[in-house]
């Protein structure tokens, strides 16, 4: 199981064009394992208010023309993708009036705030400022049950 995840992370990095040496055993991470820090989400709250709230709403609930960033519809839409996927989408396309203008650290902060708002727990390691460093951080809408040793993943 661990070997498998390492292979996936390596493949994704190579796919992105980087000959990056990955850890032989990348940890199998997902959003319920504490993938951002509390401080990061706090910074993200301010960054969200500056850059996102005008369209997605103060409570992340969305408005007529911009979707919610919190709740079941959002989570279903991103279920079984990675934190890297979401990071890339935000950095490339948002905000609509100045796409590409947000630095990696700020995007990571905003994503951390979104994770917090969706009820995912904080941890010790911040989200990295680069999508290539988190293809192995899976977005899993439902908190997985405690895994049995080396059992199959029940993440869908």
């Amino acid at each position: 199981m661990r070997r498998m995840s390492g292979w996936i992370a390596g493949a994704a990095l190579l796919g992105a064009g980087g000959a990056v040496v990955t850890r032989a055993q990348a940890p199998d991470r997902h959003v319920w394992t504490g993938v951002y820090t509390k401080e990061q989400a706090e910074r993200g709250k301010t960054a969200y208010a500056e850059n996102c709230a005008a369209c997605h709403g103060e409570t992340l609930a969305g408005i007529d023309v911009a979707p919610a960033l919190v709740g079941p519809t959002f989570l279903n839409n991103w279920n079984n993708t990675s934190a890297g996927d979401l990071f890339a989408r935000i950095q490339m396309t948002m905000p609509l009036n100045a796409p590409g203008s947000l630095g990696g650290r700020k995007v990571a902060d905003i994503e951390a705030f979104m994770f917090e708002a969706n009820g995912f727990p904080a941890g010790d390691l911040p989200l990295p400022p680069n999508a290539a460093l988190m293809p192995n951080v899976r977005i899993v809408a439902q908190k997985p049950e405690p895994a049995k040793a080396d059992g199959p993943c029940k993440c869908n």
């Binding site: 199981m1 498998m4 996936i8 493949a11 989400a41 709250k45 301010t46 969200y48 208010a49 500056e50 850059n51 709230a53 005008a54 369209c55 709403g57 103060e58 409570t59 992340l60 609930a61 408005i63 007529d64 023309v65 911009a66 919190v70 709740g71 079941p72 519809t73 989570l75 279903n76 839409n77 991103w78 279920n79 079984n80 993708t81 996927d85 979401l86 890339a88 989408r89 490339m92 396309t93 905000p95 609509l96 009036n97 100045a98 796409p99 590409g100 705030f113 917090e116 708002a117 009820g119 809408a141 439902q142 049950e145 199959p152 993943c153 869908n156």
Partner: protein
């Protein structure tokens, strides 16, 4: 082992279309013969000026739908400066060529309909003007015109300019406007800054009788920055020259019809009332049908007192002159953001033994309004019923609202205890507790002042509506309208605002305790620093205004549905939950062991009707039994609603499907994208030698 196979699949099938048939035995029999036919066309956004989104083709049918395979796909990533994920067009098909707008810059493209090859592309870089627009990205598509010799493709850019292109070459028509372009921010009966004015358009221009009709869209009006916003007038232009033929004031000027429906001369200052939806036209009657949105203030009407025509009205205009022939107001002085979101479907239906030229207007509130399209008179009585008055300071309230007596509403309206989630008694109990914190009631329960313990009114359908911009489709043989709707509530709380730099409205849409955010265009420049830090405390249970319990929706399913409405009787014929049950419901620990019928998924979807089928893709992603993310394109028997087949797509339907016959093969083309999957146009057809 399960994980290994799932991952292996994931790594190898990103672009492959797997096909899941529902009846393999019948499929095998059906593959031998593929009755073809002459090439067909699809000349308008929704097939025709009547907006039926109907095609009589039947090569693809119930027996072989499951065999559909991808003929080609067209990724739009290379168009515009970045990828797009909100790809809403429906292409046109003329003489084997597809025409559509695509990409994050809304380029106009021509594609070989048999192969998906790019034939030409037109790009207009509008710089900051485009970035300021309230309607970004690819929009709904383009329109076609010909006089039998010249052929033109017209579309509205992100920066609100009308462009006319030669359909053969993609080059601007020098005889049209200035070098093929009409600046829509000019000649608009109001002074506008061309760079910053709050106006744009996703809809296609409607072309009828050599006239191009263009509407207008503005920033959402929950927290309107200004009172005197741009007025969303609708205009007709000469298709050959781009010269303005007429303008219709959706907010009447003094002395014009409808001005008196506004109190205190509010019409002079109010803005919006744009036509952001698609329109339809009857060339024989010489009428264009124009669905109008609210004047400024989606949930606050204190600066548009009175019934305020032509807010939330369907207006029939003379195509040649723009003169109003009739109108019907679907909501009086709306406070629920019920902008008429899509084109009325023009249909000739049997009424008392004679055929009546009618129209059927799907709505956000999930009434189908059926009117005589010559006169605007209801086919079945529409009655005015008293509605509750609210408590918002300075607000004006209409005493009654129009309720069609037929056909019945096609989705949930209003909210009562019976509408709450009921998978388990515990969830129902939690839901009952939650709604105690809100005002609930029937359709048109007014918004309420938000305060702790009564955070607002729960509006069902929500502000995005049951049905939105894609609209419905229509089967002329059985006189049946098919329409998708979602069942998703919104909270409408009203909070005071004393910061005129945020909004010139003293009351705005919001939740008590959360500070008022300035609402800018989808792209208007922000102020940089937030005026105040947000007050919300995320991560500590659902915050006020957030209608979710344990990660599940407040209302019971279906969350998305397709309804067939028989216009020969005014009755609902069938209704199905549309969309596989979402991941969070299928995997929820509290629901383990329960048998839950398919719930459908919520989104904005337009169905397609053929000789025998109703075809519609799903909204949003789900993870299928193979562990693969994606969405299904589904086909239903149009007579019964029974599902006849489903085809895997790598991403949800984002633009409504269309179909055509080309070289004896029927194609279904649909725009997909969203989440982490960038925009793509996919063409399906049956197996066979290319």
């Amino acid at each position: 082992m399960q994980k290994l196979s799932r991952r292996t699949l994931l790594s190898g099938t990103a672009a492959a279309a797997a096909v899941i048939g529902v009846n393999p035995v019948r499929r095998a029999v059906a593959q031998d013969e593929l009755p073809g036919g002459p090439d067909t066309e699809w000349r308008h956004y929704a097939a025709d000026q009547a907006n039926t989104r109907y095609s009589p083709l039947e090569q693809i049918n119930a027996d072989n739908f499951g065999d559909l395979q991808m003929a080609w796909s067209f990724k739009t990533d290379i168009l515009g400066a970045r990828k797009e994920y909100q790809f809403e067009p429906t292409p046109l098909l003329i003489k084997g060529r597809l025409f559509l707008t695509a990409g994050s810059r809304r380029d106009c493209v021509c594609i070989d309909a048999a192969t998906g090859e790019l034939l030409w592309m037109f790009r207009k870089d509008e710089g900051q003007r485009a970035l300021n627009s309230p309607r970004q990205l690819s929009g709904h598509g383009c329109s076609y015109w010909t006089d039998g010799k010249a052929e033109r493709i017209l579309f509205v850019t992100i920066g609100y300019q009308l462009v006319s292109l030669d359909a053969d070459t993609g080059l601007p028509d020098p005889a049209f406007g200035v070098n093929g372009v009409v600046d829509l921010k000019q000649d608009f009966d109001q002074e506008l800054d061309p760079e910053t004015a709050d106006v744009g358009l996703h809809a296609t221009p409607l072309i009828a009788r050599d006239t191009v009709v263009v509407g207008a869209a503005h920033s959402a009006g929950d927290v309107p920055a200004v009172r005197k916003n741009v007025k969303g007038y609708v205009r007709g232009f000469d298709v050959r020259t781009g010269k303005r033929k007429w303008i219709f004031h959706t907010i009447p000027k003094k002395g014009e019809y409808g001005y008196d429906s506004w109190l205190n001369k509010d019409a002079d200052e109010a803005g919006n009332a744009g036509v952001w939806a698609e329109m339809s036209a009857d060339e024989e009657l010489g009428l264009v049908y124009v669905p109008v949105e609210l004047p400024t203030g989606d949930e606050m009407g204190m600066f548009r007192r009175g019934n305020a025509l032509f807010g939330e009205s369907l207006v029939a205009l003379d195509i040649e002159t723009g003169q109003r022939r009739w109108h019907y107001q679907l909501v009086h002085h709306g406070l629920w953001d019920r902008d008429i979101p899509c084109a009325p479907i023009l249909c000739d239906i049997p009424v008392d033994g004679r055929t009546v030229k009618a129209l059927a207007q799907p709505t956000k509130q999930c009434f189908l309004f059926v009117l005589d399209r010559t006169t605007g008179q209801p086919i079945w009585p529409i009655v005015e019923r008293p509605v509750e008055k609210g408590d918002v300071p300075g607000e004006w309230y209409a005493k009654t609202q129009p309720f069609p007596t037929k056909p019945p509403a096609y989705d949930v309206q209003g909210i009562g205890i019976d509408d709450l989630i009921d998978f388990t008694p515990e969830l129902r109990a939690k839901a009952v507790e939650m709604v105690k914190q809100y005002k609930i009631g029937p359709l048109y329960t007014p918004p309420t002042v938000s305060k702790p313990g009564r955070w607002g009114t729960i509006s069902v359908p929500g502000i995005q509506g049951g049905t939105n911009w894609p609209g419905g489709c229509y089967d002329p043989e059985s006189h049946t309208v098919f329409v998708y709707s979602k069942t998703q509530p919104s909270v409408i709380g009203i909070i005071p605002n004393d910061d005129t730099s945020v909004s010139e409205f003293p009351q705005v849409h919001g939740i008590a305790g959360a500070d008022v955010k300035p609402q800018t265009a989808m792209g208007a420049p922000g102020s940089g620093e937030p005026r105040r830090p947000p007050a919300m405390r995320p991560g500590s249970g659902p915050p006020p205004g957030f209608l979710v319990m344990d990660g599940l929706p407040l209302l019971k399913p279906p969350y998305g549905r397709i309804t067939a409405i028989d216009l020969s009787k005014g009755d609902l014929k069938w209704q199905v939950a549309h969309g596989e049950t979402p991941d969070n419901v299928r995997n929820h620990p509290a629901l383990r062991g329960l048998k839950i019928p398919r719930t459908g998924r919520a989104g904005n979807l337009g169905p397609l009707c053929t000789k025998t089928l109703v075809i519609c893709g799903e909204a949003g992603f789900y993870t299928n039994e193979y562990g693969i993310r994606g969405a299904m394109l589904r086909a239903y028997d149009k007579g019964t609603g029974e599902e006849r087949g489903a085809v895997y797509m790598p991403a949800p339907q984002s633009g409504s499907p269309m179909t055509y016959m080309l070289n004896n093969r029927q194609y279904i083309v649909v725009a997909v994208g969203g989440g982490n999957y960038s925009a793509e146009l996919i063409a399906f057809r049956l197996p066979g030698v290319a």
